[in-house]
Symmetry: C2
Subunit: 467 residues, 2 copies
Amino acid sequence: MENASSPSPPQKPTTLLTFPKALATSSSKIKHVIVDFAIKAKSIGVDDPRRIVHSLKVALAITLVSMVYYLQPLYNGMGDAGMWAILTVVVVFEYTVGATLCKGMNRGLATLLAGALGIGAESFASLFGTTAKPILLGCLVFVLVGAATFSRFIPNIKRRYDYGVLIFILTFSLVSVSGYRVERIIELAHKRLSTILFGGATCIIISMCVCPVWAGEDLHQLIAENLEKLANFLEGFGGEYFRITEGDKPSLASYKSVLNSKATEESLANFAWWEVGHGKFLFRHPWKQYLMIGALTRQCAYHIEALNGYLDRKTEAPSEFQKTIKEPCMKMSSEVGKAMKELGLSIKLMMHPSGSASAMHMESCKKAKEELNTILQTVMVGEHDISETIPVIAVTSILVDIINRVETISEAIEELAKQAQFKKSKNTKLDKKEKPNFLNDGGPPDPANGGKNRESVAITVASLNKG
Amino acid sequence: MENASSPSPPQKPTTLLTFPKALATSSSKIKHVIVDFAIKAKSIGVDDPRRIVHSLKVALAITLVSMVYYLQPLYNGMGDAGMWAILTVVVVFEYTVGATLCKGMNRGLATLLAGALGIGAESFASLFGTTAKPILLGCLVFVLVGAATFSRFIPNIKRRYDYGVLIFILTFSLVSVSGYRVERIIELAHKRLSTILFGGATCIIISMCVCPVWAGEDLHQLIAENLEKLANFLEGFGGEYFRITEGDKPSLASYKSVLNSKATEESLANFAWWEVGHGKFLFRHPWKQYLMIGALTRQCAYHIEALNGYLDRKTEAPSEFQKTIKEPCMKMSSEVGKAMKELGLSIKLMMHPSGSASAMHMESCKKAKEELNTILQTVMVGEHDISETIPVIAVTSILVDIINRVETISEAIEELAKQAQFKKSKNTKLDKKEKPNFLNDGGPPDPANGGKNRESVAITVASLNKG
């Protein structure tokens, strides 16, 4: 293992070689680190080329605003306050349009408010004479900064205005304190505010016009892709569990990222709130409903994680008991997976889910479930080895649980489709009252409308001319 | 519902009342909002009084550094560069010591590096004459800013040096660009750097000396508390599932926060990395191992979430089949809960887990499991209604899964105890070779050392003189 990168030739005296050898070793090590780093950086760029574009956009924005220093007419107008334009671009320019708008608006409004308050505080303190002024100003800064810092712990403020409060603290302290020394404070404030507006506007325009990255669109894609990831697991689970998958096995682990997607979804939804309408999304698109679907998807992912535990401890060959329930169990798993994939697709294409094939898959899922119940009822479970039987029964039970969860997800997607006015599929002849509610037994959702479903599902299936 | 807050008296003409009425309504609404806000703010302060202390600390730091403006000797030395001290305090002062150190160090080093590079770039560009200089500077800024922005997407850099890269971009642009206009750039850089160091040092000193909030300690508590939350669920689950809990039911939902604690744990561990030794934690405490335990705890929480699904759909009275397995099932659940509580406690007290009572509880858990297997083997499962039996069997299977997970958690805690040199309990007579590995059947962990365990558990139980 040692010196694998630079073996020393044995025929020459080693003492003379020590220095160049060490140099060669360390230089090859550095080379190795650099190459590794370059490969990693390249893969990050290839994974999502928008990252490279974003870097170029930031560089462009900063180069543009630094023109205030290079071009004489601009410099005459702004002077050294141009520094604030650069500072604004550096801290405001974020990856998505929503985040940039959020920071830009927060910075602009907070600067305005805090600047006005700061000037007010300075004039107020001036009334009390030169000795009392610094003491009064100090007290004012202490109280306001303390209160503002505390307000950052309040969830509603933290979520949307955290950066604004930070800038408020900064500007208020700077204005009220430097007002003690600077003579023409109004002029200073005016210059600074206009440069900040200039910097902020540059950011927002470049962010929105040059290859924009919309947080809303990312959220939309993420929710659809998360459904797809879970669907892939469910489609592959049967084959893996009953050991009939041969050759290259598809990796089932991609669902794991869904388990921890809460923070990403929430921040994207927050940023999407700031975004203007774009592409297929209007201003005030129901982003909250996406969070609801995301939460339900995550719920489902927790159950899949429990299911995945049973894949780890499977034995070499399936037991007798497994073989008897193999058919309906595999069908349940793959059909619920297909239904989920259709639901994800209906989000992706912004189509109403009632027109998709998901209802059909849920129906055959339900049939498989009944078949499984019949088999389990006839097979005397006690005849088999109990330690082999229990995990298999648990798997079927968790699968049924997942089916119920998928039904809830489907309802949430229908709600989204209603709120966001998704297109209806052409071959759907259903009106809203008859929308399919496919599977409705055993789960937590309301069991009130069990009667009509079968009928409406039949209509959907017929209208799709499939199966 | 309407106008509930200010009903208008019917005997007077309403037209005359419109304006005062509207005023009264809106003023009472505003009052309502303010009172609501105050109650919320108070509860946030009461929940964790360290938040109030933090707000006062920030206010103190800003008031202190603003002295550079008020006191003549300080102002003579620093001048308007004192502004940078205030700016530094506002952006660097974070809630935990680790986060403050992280930001302070990043800011200091990045300013130094970028300042030096910026001055270098400015002198280099000066060599090419007045016409070429701004073009050359613009190109340099473009390239370096683009590269630095891209580097923020690399996970390792993002995790620890994100803020440093931001400050690097800011300072490099400011120095190289303003160098085009400012004559004595070295003097400017020196003044700015010294004020930044002054602001940063103020932050770090106040953050560390006045009621410090250590990220490492918070992480330590969080991991222990998460184990406790899961333990509470498991202890209460049996009573809830078999409907024997009467009177005030303890809420079992507190475990839900564990499902989404990954981001918090990771950021705390990152900040803890920057912290110097404090209290019981030495510099380079094995924070990574806490993340490992946190991940295993979360795994366990996913299974508990699946278990929780079975609480939702329980019927009014327990079925016959449930009654037959009630005893061992409840014992399994409560004993694994107790074992988990002991593990959490051993982290909290920084005691070696081998001395705690958790091994004893795991042992009785294992006995209950064997008992359950015997009952299931004798009871002919087929005799009962299959739709009632399946979920119950699933519950027992998930419980067994949880027991295996807890064993893995216990191993991870033992590893932590070894790395962090936790105290050994006085009444433990075990040496390291004989450490108990209590439960070792059926689960994924290596089954190599199954023989010795029973013996060593017996020793622990005896040494504790309990049960």
